[in-house]
Structure formats: C-alpha cells, structure tokens
C-alpha cells in the first residue's frame, strides 16, 4: 500500500501510524467518503422524490435497478466507512494493545454482520414475491 509523498522518511521506514500500518487506511477512508457523498445524496433525493412512504411504494422503488443497485452500494460503502472511522477512534483512545486488537475484531464482525443483514433484506425485497 502506497503511503504517498506525505509520509515522513521515518514514517516510511517504520510503516507506522496510530493504526500501525501505512497510509492505505487513510486513503481508503477518503475514497469511501467521496463515494458516500454521491450515494447519500442519491438516498436523500430518492426518498424526497417518492410520492409517499407506503410499503408498496418502497418495494417498487427498491425492487427496481435504480433503487436496488445504489442501495447495495450504499450499504457496502457506509458500513465500510463507518467501520474505518470507528477503528480510528479505537486506535486513538484505547491504549492497551490487546484491547485495541480485540475491539478491531469485534467491530469487523459487527460491521460485516450488519451489512450482511441489510444486503439480505435488500435481496429479499428485489427477488422475493411482489408486494401483497
């Protein structure tokens, strides 16, 4: 993972930040933030454009490609970006190395589990029977 030109010579040698790795994590957080900027605006505007919030309306919207594909991207990107942010907070405030790693494991599992639940629900909306 490239650290870019911003890393100090000592930092390049050690490959250490507070996250104990290179600049890749930092760059990834920026990349997902820009993606979320677009996806979050899509979500807000989509909700505002709906005629109402009845179940049938939401199923029709999320069942279409224009609803399902950006929503899948939003789920994946938002859980990833949120996970990255929480990990940085843990790195900054949890000074015991064992606790730090344990919290990283826990956050990884919670994020993957949460995203999986959301994606399964979306798949059920898209591929399940039509609204009753």
């Amino acid at each position: 993972m490239s650290q870019g030109e911003s890393a100090t010579p000592l930092g390049k040698v050690r490959g250490l930040g507070s996250a104990h790795e290179g600049g890749g994590h930092w760059l990834e957080e920026r990349f997902t933030s820009v993606a979320l900027l677009l996806l979050a605006f899509w979500l807000i505007f989509s909700l505002l454009m709906l005629p109402n919030f009845e179940l049938a309306t939401l199923k029709e919207w999320l069942g279409s490609a224009w609803g399902a594909i950006p929503m899948a991207l939003f789920i994946i990107t938002s859980f990833k970006h949120g996970l990255d942010g929480l990990k940085v907070s843990v790195d900054d405030y949890v000074h015991d190395e064992g606790n730090r790693i344990a919290l990283h494991y826990l956050l990884n599992m919670l994020a993957i589990a949460g995203a999986s639940v959301a994606l399964f629900a979306l798949a059920k909306i898209v591929f399940g029977p039509a609204a009753a």
Partner: protein
C-alpha cells in the same frame, strides 16, 4: 507497547481556549459514531421491515413516527449533515488549504450553519412527502 509507561500527552485541551474549530472537530467524531452505530442500525431495521411485509413495516413505522423515534431520526439527520459538511471541510484541509486562522474558523462555523439549515429543509420536505 507498554501502556503503563507514562508517555507525555499533548495538553491541548487544557491550554487552548475553546473555539468553533475544536467543536466541529470533535463533532465530526461524535456524529460519525452516531450515524454509524444508530444510523446503520435504523437502515438495517428499515430494510428488514420492508422485506418482512406489512406487519413488520407497520412496526417500524409506528416506532419511527413516535415522539422518541422522531427525535432520533431528526438527530441522525442533523448528525448526517454535520458529518457531511465537516467531511467536505476535511477534504479541503487535506489538500493543505484553509488553515489561515480566520478562514479556518469561518468554515468551521459554516459547517454548523449548513447542517442546521439542511436538517430543517430536509424535514420540511420529508413531512411534505409523508403527508
């Protein structure tokens, strides 16, 4: 790493006079944490309830439209906009721009103005959709 070693920590919080840039800085973390933990939980529950059908969705809608539910949703909307505007500011700061004292302070305040305004507009429009 030995956590018991008394390494010096920056005493910035006890020395500097509190300012809008510091408020916005810590709010970026607080709002980011809130929309990750509470916001993504609401998102997942919302999708699960839509997938679950009429009864499940009615349960979600009932809680979402309760006074406590509305407070959480409006709070999350504000946290979202604050994190978004503050995040945009950070992307600019990442380029090395905007560190002059007055400029930095101005845009810190503008993220607060922007988030409050955007929250008001969002809910004005949402209530219009919800009827």
């Amino acid at each position: 790493m030995n956590s018991k070693a008394e390494r010096p920590l920056s005493p910035h919080l006890t020395i500097w006079k509190w300012g809008p840039h510091m408020t916005v800085s810590i709010l970026h973390r607080v709002t980011g944490g809130a929309i990750t933990v509470a916001g993504l939980a609401v998102l997942a529950w919302w999708l699960v309830s839509i997938a679950g059908g009429e009864a499940a969705y009615a349960d979600f809608a009932k809680v979402a439209q309760s006074p406590a539910g509305m407070i959480v949703l409006v709070g999350l909307t504000w946290a979202f906009w604050q994190h978004l505007f503050s995040g945009l500011r950070h992307l600019v700061l990442d380029t090395g721009a905007g560190y002059e004292l007055k400029v930095n302070r101005f845009w810190a305040i503008m993220t607060l103005v922007g988030s409050l305004t955007a929250t008001a507009i969002t809910w004005y429009l949402l209530i219009g959709v919800g009827k």
